[in-house]
Amino acid sequence: MVKSGTLILHTAARILMPLQLLFSVFLLLRGHDEPGGGFIAGLVAAGAFTLYLFAFGVSATREVLRMVDPRDLIGMGLLFGMASVFPAWFVDQPFLTAQWWTIPGIDFYASTPLIFDIGVYLAVLGSVLAMVMTLMEVDKDEP
């Protein structure tokens, strides 16, 4: 008979997890200019979900994630990563050559490095989350 968290931890997790996720996105997006980037952001996000896991257990966390299995996150992350590889081919530059596109109207640049970093983010998040979740899931199932 194990409690998956106390009232205080529940509340804290509910407040802290969105904060941490937000922070992770922040780290992701400005990583090109300041400390941060896909790895760090992905790890922070994974930490956020880990907190939630500790507080509420696996099935509640799955509910938060809705239909997205961590494994899907991994696959998506990897595909995002691969997606930044090939655009250069269309302009006859070597693979992975950074492509920068100005989004018209606003002062924002989309680029393959950004796509790549998002891929890194998702892959790191998915991988770490998958590991932690599986470990906890298995522990629960075992006598």
């Binding site: 494994r71 991994i74 696959g75 990897l78 691969m82 006859d92 693979f95």
Partner: protein, 524 residues
């Protein structure tokens, strides 16, 4: 823009990612396995054609000129290894369709295989030291996961050794990379070769050389660093064993060839001596290890070690011919050793065991399987005109021409001992009658890899075996084009200037890299 240099890495990565994303759909996984590996073989042939035409093909990834970005570069050695990787990938993916069970497929068998191939291809193509480390890790972690797939007790025990000792190698490798960068300030192999050649502190160059030697020696399973291999290679699902046997250790050998021709040729003498004795002891210990075994895959595993010695000897003798022979041995071994493992899988399926003593009668029951085994096994022992003959002959010739008589004699004796083991298997599995107490069950066999019932005569398992056996024969009978390639490899590796110029550009000099020019290097 030379896509063909990068595609052998990128395609399996893509296949792996797609396969992972569709982890719920088994048909999709199986389709990706075959289609992806077919595509991989296609691009690797494209690469080979390019290399035949141009000697070196280079792509500067990310558009950053070497040595600042990561360069992928293919010379003949890389191209040949890549083609073999593609071939192994295709053959094994087809075999796996039959040999791999539900459980394995649901838990990432095919993605792992794709990514393993990507790691191998990356290691063969990269021109960057740290990038090589990354591909080694990709390959390694993929192999970890494949090794434990199924979770048998033996797998776990084997995996602990495999994982630990390989991680030790990785750390030594990584440390050496760090020291290399600290010393010469570059990670590009061609650039590092240039810089190391003029480095003032040759003692440190030698230190780096031995560190890389130990790291790759562990990866390649050379004496006395091979323990992880015989402890683990016989434990995973058989297609995985075959993949490991065919590809993985060869990457360590490749790295040794690359590093000790490109980066460290100047320290020859001492390192050469180390390599020669390492090679000799590797051959002997491996082959003797096999002599003591009575389990199909264990025998084969120890023989991997022994054959690694042959290959390293090719490098250690350090003549174009010897290197050609070493790489020929690599090529031949990939084909043959993979096939022997695949055959062991079929025999296991037929008779429910890998224990030689419990098997028998297959010469009569499965004559074509017997032919395939005979071709592969006797090729391994170096019987002409099969593939292994040239590997052996060229190295023996090179050894005699280099006046390395002792080690050549050892190589010859090891050939005899190889025959010993192969004949043992042949006598026990094929010639001997099936022991009374292990008669083949008449109904379908439950295979250990998973609980799926499979008819024992799946043609998907025989097809790859037949193809590889044919290769074992054809590589020997039609050796000329291959030998010409091997000779080119020997020439290219012994003259690394071509590689360096292909990567860095023809007009590049060492002057820019020096903080101040050393006195004796100043030319008027």
């Amino acid at each position: 823009m030379r896509p063909e240099v990068a595609l052998p890495v990128l395609l399996p990565l893509l296949s792996g990612a797609i396969s992972l994303l569709f982890w719920r759909s088994r048909p999709m996984q199986r389709f990706t396995a075959v289609a992806g590996n077919l595509a991989l073989l296609g691009v690797s042939l494209w690469l080979l054609v390019s290399v035949i035409q141009e000697d070196y093909v280079v792509i500067q990834m990310g558009g950053w000129q070497a040595p600042f970005g990561i360069t992928l570069v293919a010379d003949m050695l890389s191209a040949v290894m890549i083609v073999l990787t593609g071939l192994m990938g295709l053959v094994l993916s087809i075999y796996s369709l039959a040999s791999t069970g539900d459980g394995h497929e649901r838990f990432g068998y095919y993605p792992l295989m794709h990514l393993l191939l990507a790691g191998v291809a990356g290691a063969f193509l990269t021109g960057d030291v740290f990038n090589l480390y990354v591909w080694f890790e990709v390959m390694l972690v993929a192999s970890f996961a494949l090794l434990i797939l199924g979770g048998e007790k033996a797998q776990m025990e084997g995996a602990i050794k495999y994982v630990t000792l390989n991680l030790l190698a990785s750390v030594i490798f990584l440390s050496a990379v760090g020291l290399l960068y600290g010393m010469v300030g570059t990670l590009n192999m061609a650039d590092a070769a240039q810089r190391l050649a003029v480095a003032e502190h040759q003692g440190m160059v030698e230190v780096l050389a031995v560190m890389f030697m130990v790291a790759f020696g562990i990866k390649a399973a050379a004496f006395p660093l091979f323990f992880w291999l015989p402890a683990s290679y016989h434990t995973p699902p058989v297609a995985v064993s075959a993949l490991f046997a065919g590809l993985l250790t060869k990457v360590g050998v490749y790295a040794l060839f690359r590093f000790f021709t490109l980066l460290f040729d100047q320290t020859l003498g001492y390192t050469q001596e180390l390599l020669i004795w390492g090679a000799a002891l590797t051959m002997v210990t491996g082959v003797l290890g096999a002599a003591a075994q009575f389990e199909f895959r264990r025998i084969l595993s120890f023989h991997i070690v022994s054959q690694i010695g042959y290959m390293i000897l090719g490098l250690a003798l350090y003549t174009p011919l010897a290197i050609a022979g070493g790489i020929f041995a690599v090529m031949h071994n990939m084909v043959v050793k993979t096939n022997l493992f695949l055959i062991s899988g079929i025999t296991r399926r037929l008779q429910g065991t890998y224990e030689l003593k419990k098997m028998g009668g297959l010469y009569r029951e499965r004559p074509w399987l017997a032919v395939a085994f005979f071709l592969s096994a006797f090729s391994l022992a170096g019987v002409p005109p099969l593939s292994g003959f040239f590997a052996k002959f060229v190295i023996v010739r090179a050894g005699i021409e280099a006046e390395a008589y002792v080690v050549t004699a050892v190589a010859l004796l090891v050939g005899l001992m190889t025959l010993y083991s192969m004949v043992k298997i042949w006598n026990e599995v094929f010639w001997k009658s099936l022991p009374e107490d292990n008669l083949v069950p008449t109904e379908e066999v439950v295979v250990g890899d998973d609980s799926r019932m499979v008819p024992p005569s799946l043609w998907l398992m025989y097809l790859p075996v037949a193809v590889l056996a044919l290769f074992a024969l054809l590589i020997g009978v039609l050796a000329e084009p291959l030998m010409a390639m091997m000779n080119q490899i020997g020439e290219q590796l012994m003259n690394p200037q071509g590689y360096i110029e292909a990567v860095l550009g023809a007009d590049v000099g060492i002057e820019d890299a020096l903080i101040e020019a050393p006195d004796e290097e100043v030319s008027p």
